[in-house]
Symmetry: C2
Subunit: 429 residues, 2 copies
């Protein structure tokens, strides 16, 4: 179970194994909970215990300390329990996809593995059952950096099917790495929603004392039960302490920090909502629940690339890539610029039927290709400025648009039209 040194000996003497219910006494205080595995990032002196609240605490066993087994774990297999149903509560669907939030979820045994069954997913945070009737299913379990179009499509269909069979909302536990891409894909694929589709992740896995998994999942669930939101949103911590969560519009959100719990930020727009405990505050305009049924339009082209421009960007690389795709999103500098050496290759690509859309690598603010001659040359070459659409959202949108039509003028018209709140008027950061 990974514990070494003094802590390892203490546990051995107590005959305590991961998954046992234990009492740990140190500094005059006793904590009772399930013994969790040692985490690589924890100090050797720390033992991790999952309390009955669902939270993990890290207890430092330096000095006088005692461990006692209250009850041995019942079985090595994942526990099978039937999910409770309460007619006074609404149904919420949980659609597992993998990622940190779905890792180390076996609540009772402490086993470290991704959720493989609906029960494991549901019982990873038993508090969910106080808020709703849990409908859980594990669609797949992958690291989000391996997500591809077929995963987005399967997920869109699953979310629609849950909403259309009466779920008050769908919660999608998801790896954080590409969660913003997935939320954008769902936003375009799913028509007018009868309830929220909430992508939710965690930056610390649930075997770690500082995990944000439980709070994020609870906030996501509350949005499904108690809000009238009919949008795809991303729910994560709003600050680095456990004060509140924030719901970001699926097409305007980006992971802006590699490790902080409040890594996700709404870009160029206010978040949709703030969730503090059971309190939901709506912060900006949003689409309300529609009557349904939810339609799925999940066709996508995979022949799209995204290029962040840099000084010295090689025209021959641009030509190689643009010769191999149906559409291209450029993240230009400032107002959307590229070097003059790329203007001819852009023109050539457009003449060959490739859609070339322009966003800004600044991320915040809109493109404007009318201010400088570089931009005007890009427009003459056929590049299409995309307002303040995030490069990543523009990439996903272009895949989706090219799944709906191949007609160049229709593609351009759909790309500049606001379909899911992806282009907005500017706001101060």
């Amino acid at each position: 179970m990974g514990y070494a040194g003094h802590v390892g000996r203490l546990l051995e003497e107590a005959d305590a194994a991961v998954g046992d219910e234990v009492e740990v006494t140190r500094r005059g205080r006793t904590h009772r909970g399930i013994l969790m595995p040692h985490h690589d990032f924890s100090d050797d002196a720390i033992v991790t215990v999952k309390l009955s609240s669902g939270y993990n605490v890290g207890l430092c066993l330096e000095g006088e300390s005692k461990v006692r087994v209250v009850s041995k774990k019942l079985t090595k297999d994942p526990i099978r329990r039937s999910l409770p149903t309460d007619e006074s509560k609404k149904d919420v669907a949980f659609i597992g996809t993998g990622g940190t939030i779905a890792s180390y979820v076996d609540y009772r045994t402490g086993a470290v593995h991704p959720a493989k069954s609906a029960e494991e997913l549901a019982f990873s945070v038993p508090e969910l059952m106080d808020v709703c009737n849990v409908r859980a299913r594990v669609l797949y379990s992958i690291y989000s950096e391996n997500m591809e179009v077929n995963h987005w499509q399967e997920l869109a269909r699953a979310a629609a099917s849950e909403l259309n069979s009466g779920a008050s909302g769908a919660v999608v536990p998801h790896g954080t790495d590409t969660m913003g891409f997935t939320s954008a894909a769902l936003s375009f694929m799913l028509g007018r929603l009868s309830g929220p589709v909430v992508c939710v992740g965690s930056q610390r896995s649930s075997d770690r004392p500082s995990s944000d998994a439980t709070m994020n999942l609870l906030a996501a669930t509350r949005l499904c039960v108690s809000s009238d939101i009919g949008e795809v949103v991303v729910v994560m911590h709003g600050d680095i302490s456990d004060t509140y969560c924030v719901a970001h519009r699926g097409v305007k959100v980006r992971k802006m920090h590699s490790s902080r719990r409040d890594a996700f930020r709404s870009v160029d727009i206010d978040p949709v909502a703030r969730v503090e405990g059971s309190e939901i505050s709506l912060l900006s305009g949003y689409s309300k629940r529609a009557a349904g049924p939810v339609e799925v339009r999940d066709k996508m082209s995979e022949r799209v690339s995204m290029l962040y421009f840099y000084p010295g960007f090689e025209p021959e690389h641009f030509e190689m890539i643009s010769g191999n795709v149906e559409g291209l999103i450029i993240a230009g500098t400032g107002l959307g610029h590229v070097s003059e050496k790329l203007v001819k290759p852009i023109s050539k690509a457009v003449k060959n039927g490739v859609f070339v859309g322009v966003t800004t690598q600044c991320l915040y603010g809109a493109v404007n290709l009318n201010v400088y001659s570089t931009g005007r040359d890009m427009i003459s070459a056929g590049a299409v400025p995309l307002g303040n659409m995030l490069p990543e959202t523009a990439y996903v949108k272009l895949m989706w648009v090219l799944g709906q039509t191949k007609d160049p003028s229709e593609v351009a018209a759909m790309m500049v039209k606001d379909l899911a709140g992806e282009t907005t008027s500017r706001r101060s950061v």
Copy 2:
């Protein structure tokens, strides 16, 4: 001069031309200054006048208003004046490169063109001469999106030569689009500095009422005259009003908004200094002026690319690009990840002698390839994690490192070593 409608008629009646000194009276107040050309973005009712302070004001001429010519402009040619010299003042070098800050600079005539001579550059903001003896030269005048390695090299040599001939600092007016790339290049090319090298830009050209050019140039100049900083920094507005400027370390700064005046942000680090009027507050650790002379090591490889990863990133595109370069910087998701489909292409590239460095597209926070199996696979394939180095800084650094050595283990050692403050311990955003 571009003025139409009511304003056009008023100016015509007054026989006022761009460059004339005029008095404009409206709402009971009179403003005196040089008549500037109409700006495309201004309302038709607005006339722009450059006050003697150097600031432009936009005056709305709706309702009762009067224009009177005080004196006609002297000549249509750029005015030639000799630069004053005051032995009690320090010398500061101004090295013009182009960009918005150097546009529309003819102070007296109001002519709209980039600074073509040292005098034009100097007299674009005459207040500079109150602070220092101005040594001005125009190195070139290009949009910064067209900057290439040879421009960085020429600039590094010019800055070193000015410092080595007694300048207290070098101010580099620069287009904002790629200013962060240039400041990074100068940081690596220039050895221990005897004074600051200050890249400075503006987000609003100086013919616009809201221009930030004057204030940014003055703040940059004050850093050269009154600070002991021996680093390459970027100076821009610190907020959206004209309250203060901020000096960012050249290797930790990124343009994070396409249009705001405070678009530049220090990423994962505090700014070096805050400049409010003539007050300089030092905010974080920095390198102090060295004894000199400043050495230039300006060799760079242009065979380097940068790739922002996205779901569905095409392995064949990776192979095409990595087959054509000496080094590659990946901006991965989250802690630095790419999809498992790219692990083999990475391994192949490394085996072929291509350096593959890993940064995060989150921009804030560090990479860590030891947490998840994807990252560990990337390390096994030979990818090198680069801490919290910005992708753009890592790209420039790799060009520079490959200009110093082609030995793979030396390249890797130099890339992970902190050379100019580009990798720092994490701070909260």
